[in-house]
């Protein structure tokens, strides 16, 4: 397994700012790009950047390097609950969007449009809640990062849980946003 931190000359730790990762990445690219024979290395550097810049994959990669597995368990109960509400909102959205795009009569579409406002609000609320959750998890990463070198082993489980949570939250966020765009498209 390639150590992506080492590849980008970065210190192995849970929190690294996007700016820092980018600078390291650009430095690497500049040394490789002028040389077409080294496109294999470029692939690895691109993969390293993509892995390290995203907090969830960065933490999983860190745990893999340190402990040999990323150790994701069950998702936390409060996230499970949130998942329930998100799934519900997504289902309502798909149903409404489906019925709206199936309608050809202007008047039927206009009447359906009246209901869209409620749907838009639901989506905006879900997006907001997810964004807050995301910021909370990222703040937690920064907190754990402070004590990372002293208590690496103790950080293992909480970090694994955060990475798992972030993965889900980001996935739901993009699903909610996609519905918002589809709504705009039809309106």
């Amino acid at each position: 397994m390639i150590d992506y931190f080492a590849l980008l000359d970065l210190e192995r730790r849970p929190a690294i700012t996007e700016e820092t990762v980018k600078e390291a990445y650009f430095r690497k690219c500049e040394s490789l790009h002028s040389d077409p024979a080294r496109s294999g290395e470029l692939i690895a550097v691109n993969a390293a950047f993509q892995t390290i810049v995203n907090p969830a994959t960065r933490i999983q990669h860190l745990l893999m390097l340190e402990f040999g597995d990323a150790g994701g368990g069950q998702i936390e109960p409060d996230l499970g609950e949130l998942f329930g509400t998100i799934v519900e909102v997504l289902q309502i959205a798909d149903q409404e969007l489906g019925s709206l795009s199936a309608r050809s009569s202007p008047i039927l579409r206009a009447l359906a449009f009246q209901r869209l406002d409620g749907l838009r609000e639901k989506l905006v609320r879900a997006e907001k809640e997810l964004s807050q959750r995301e910021s909370g998890l990222l703040a937690e990463v920064v907190r754990l990062d402070k004590s990372w070198f002293k208590s690496t082993v103790q950080s293992r489980h909480p970090l694994a849980q955060i990475a798992l949570g972030l993965t889900f939250v980001r996935k739901w966020l993009s699903q909610v946003r996609e519905r918002k765009i589809r709504l705009e498209e039809l309106a």
């Binding site: 650009f26 008047i107 206009a110 009447l111």
Partner: protein, 603 residues
């Protein structure tokens, strides 16, 4: 070291450029024009004619004059919606072919003729041979379209040094004299046939694409088509007896030509006089077309770019306000309505400093300079526009490389045998963003071969690599034997045309059995939905329409009710359609009402 040229192979026009003492220079042909129309005229005998002279044949020999071929390149017959070309487009063995008299050309061959002409112009101008090129493609082109473009270049006897995305090229043109800047820009590229939106980060000479989105079938051609429809209506209004003649190819080509020119002029003028002399016999057509009329037909088409812009912003995790510039390129962005639209979506005045026709070619030339080493201190990091994946059990798409991954990149997947002694397994490779495999582009399929071993013992790793051109390469490696093999994808549509036609015929036969009954049932369902909807709309906004309008709607409602009792499905369908048409205004009022209510609630 020989020159590398940069080529913009456009839907409507193509251009070629070369670096000259550190500057990108576009090369003019013998007539002094830098724009070569991407048009090929195929005469009955002799060599095809390319560019401006071919373009002049368009209205005279429509069935022999090929244009907008970029809309067909790398496409499969099944996926192409109906295109209104006056020349014959056929499918054969799962490929698109253009039929001109007894000659058959595929889209790559047609494009290669355009490329050959550019090559000859460049060689004449430079006085030396030119055989290495960078060619641009729409950022949202998939793997097949990129491969086909590359093939067109090779047919024109070029070594293709790089395939580069059009909006990325435009960003290079914009950024060449801003190599110290740090900024975030969007490039909105609306050309003759395709639309792309890319968001980039410029960082002291590093051009990093953050996200890209688009539609490879959305552009000026669509506006032309709608404008042709409008003009046809006006012609029929004047000469109803011409209706049957208007579907004639010759007619279509003349009206299209006129419509296209009127559209161009309406970017700077408010009204134009549309003249088609001797349309039929001695009937001539003359019409005063206003910019407003053009904008009314163009608006829905331009609005379709909005969701792509929003998606790319989302993917780049940016708010429109955090962008520093929105650069417009592509001929259609000369239309004032497009500029207004961009200002609305991005909440700022767009940047119109780039020449809409030339920026992409200039950028391709800069990229050529980067590859030849003539241009230093620029680093370009581009992305793959579409997610790449494989079909999994249950017909779902399993994403291996997500969209907007920086290229080159790769992903691996391990496969094993599901039963003992299974000797192969078929893998379907997909590109697209939809959850169901069938809703995405199928790039092709291949078989993995297993050694005869016990269940789940075989191990074949497959590596999917997207190179710097955005083109896919597949490599399989048996981890037990260590054998490696480059895999060629086979076309998804290897079914013969006969088989396809048989399938269509069968489904039609079947459809006719219960056709009349189904039409009636559907019409009744629609009426039952429509009547209460109209009633409740009238209670909500009925006070905002005139009593005349009210009466008209009443008459239409009574006709629907009467038709419901008649069991005449034709009559009911017509009545429904008329009620739809007659309540259009009511629908607009309802939407206005919903919007103002929403606005009030936000306060």
């Amino acid at each position: 070291m020989t020159d590398i040229v940069g080529i913009d192979l456009g839907t409507t026009n193509s251009l070629i450029g070369v670096m000259d003492s550190g500057f990108p220079i576009l090369i003019a042909d013998r007539e002094g024009s830098r724009l070569t129309p991407s048009v090929v005229y195929v005469p009955e005998s002799g060599d095809p004619i390319v560019g401006a002279p071919a373009n002049r044949m368009r209205a005279l020999m429509p069935e022999r004059t090929l244009y907008s071929v970029k809309r067909l390149i790398g496409r499969r017959p099944g996926e192409s919606e109906k295109e209104d070309f006056p020349f014959a487009v056929r499918s054969q063995n799962g490929r698109m072919l253009l039929e001109i008299g007894d000659r058959l050309l595929n889209p790559e061959e047609v494009s290669s003729l355009v490329l050959k002409k550019l090559k000859a112009d460049a060689e004449a101008s430079l006085g030396r041979s030119v055989d290495r090129a960078v060619i641009t493609v729409p950022a949202y082109f998939n793997d097949l379209q990129r491969q086909a473009t590359k093939r067109a270049g090779e047919l024109a006897e070029f070594t293709i040094e790089r395939i580069i995305n059009e909006p990325t090229a435009a960003a290079l043109a914009y950024g060449l004299d801003r190599l110290r800047d740090r900024s975030k820009i969007a490039v909105y590229d609306l050309g003759g046939g395709t639309f792309d939106i890319s968001i980039l980060e410029l960082n002291e000479g590093i051009f990093r694409v953050l996200s890209t989105n688009g539609n490879t079938r959305l552009g000026g051609d669509d506006i032309d088509r709608e404008l042709v429809r409008l003009l046809k209506e006006r012609i029929i209004g004047r000469y109803p007896e011409l209706r049957p003649e208007l579907d004639d190819r010759m007619f279509f080509a003349r009206i299209r030509e006129t419509a296209h020119e009127a559209k161009l002029r309406l970017s700077t003028e408010d009204v134009v006089q549309v003249e088609i002399p001797f349309l039929s016999g001695n009937r001539s057509f003359s019409y005063t077309l206003t910019r407003q009329e053009l904008e009314a037909v163009a608006r829905p088409i331009i609005r379709r770019t909005r969701s792509h812009c929003l998606r790319s912003l989302d993917d780049a995790k940016l708010d429109p306000r955090t962008l520093d510039e929105v650069i417009l390129v592509g001929g259609v962005t000369r239309m004032p309505i497009v500029r207004q639209f961009c200002a609305e979506v991005f909440q700022r005045l767009p940047n119109i400093t780039q020449n809409p026709d030339e920026a992409v070619a200039v950028g391709a030339t800069i990229q050529a300079g980067i590859l030849s080493g003539e241009v230093q201190n620029i680093l370009l990091l581009d992305v793959t526009p579409l997610s790449l994946g494989i079909e999994t059990f249950g017909g779902l798409m399993n994403v291996l490389i997500p969209r907007n991954s920086t290229i080159p990149c790769k992903a691996g997947e391990m496969f094993t045998n599901a039963v003992a002694n299974q000797n192969s397994m078929q893998i379907v490779v997909l590109q697209g963003e939809r959850e169901l495999a069938k809703d995405n582009w199928e790039l092709g399929r291949f078989d993995i071969e297993f050694e005869p071993v016990l269940k789940a013992v075989a191990r074949v790793g497959v590596q999917f690599e997207i190179d710097a051109d955005g083109i896919l390469h597949v490599l399989a490696r048996d981890t037990r034997t260590g054998r490696e093999k480059v895999i060629e994808l086979s076309s998804a549509v290897d079914v013969s045309d006969d088989a396809v036609e048989k399938m269509i015929a069968e489904s039609l036969d079947h459809a006719f059995e219960d056709m009349s009954e189904r039409v009636w049932t559907e019409a009744v369902l629609k009426s039952n939905e429509l009547l209460p909807a109209v009633r409740s709309a009238l209670t909500l906004v009925g006070d905002q329409i005139t009593s005349d309008d009210q009466k008209k709607i009443d008459v239409l409602v009574i006709e629907v009710e009467a038709a419901l009792k008649s069991h005449d499905s034709h009559r009911l369908k017509k009545a429904n359609a008329e009620l739809d048409e007659g309540t259009q205004h009511l629908a607009t009022l309802l939407i206005d009402r919903a919007m103002s209510e929403a606005a009030r609630r936000k306060k």
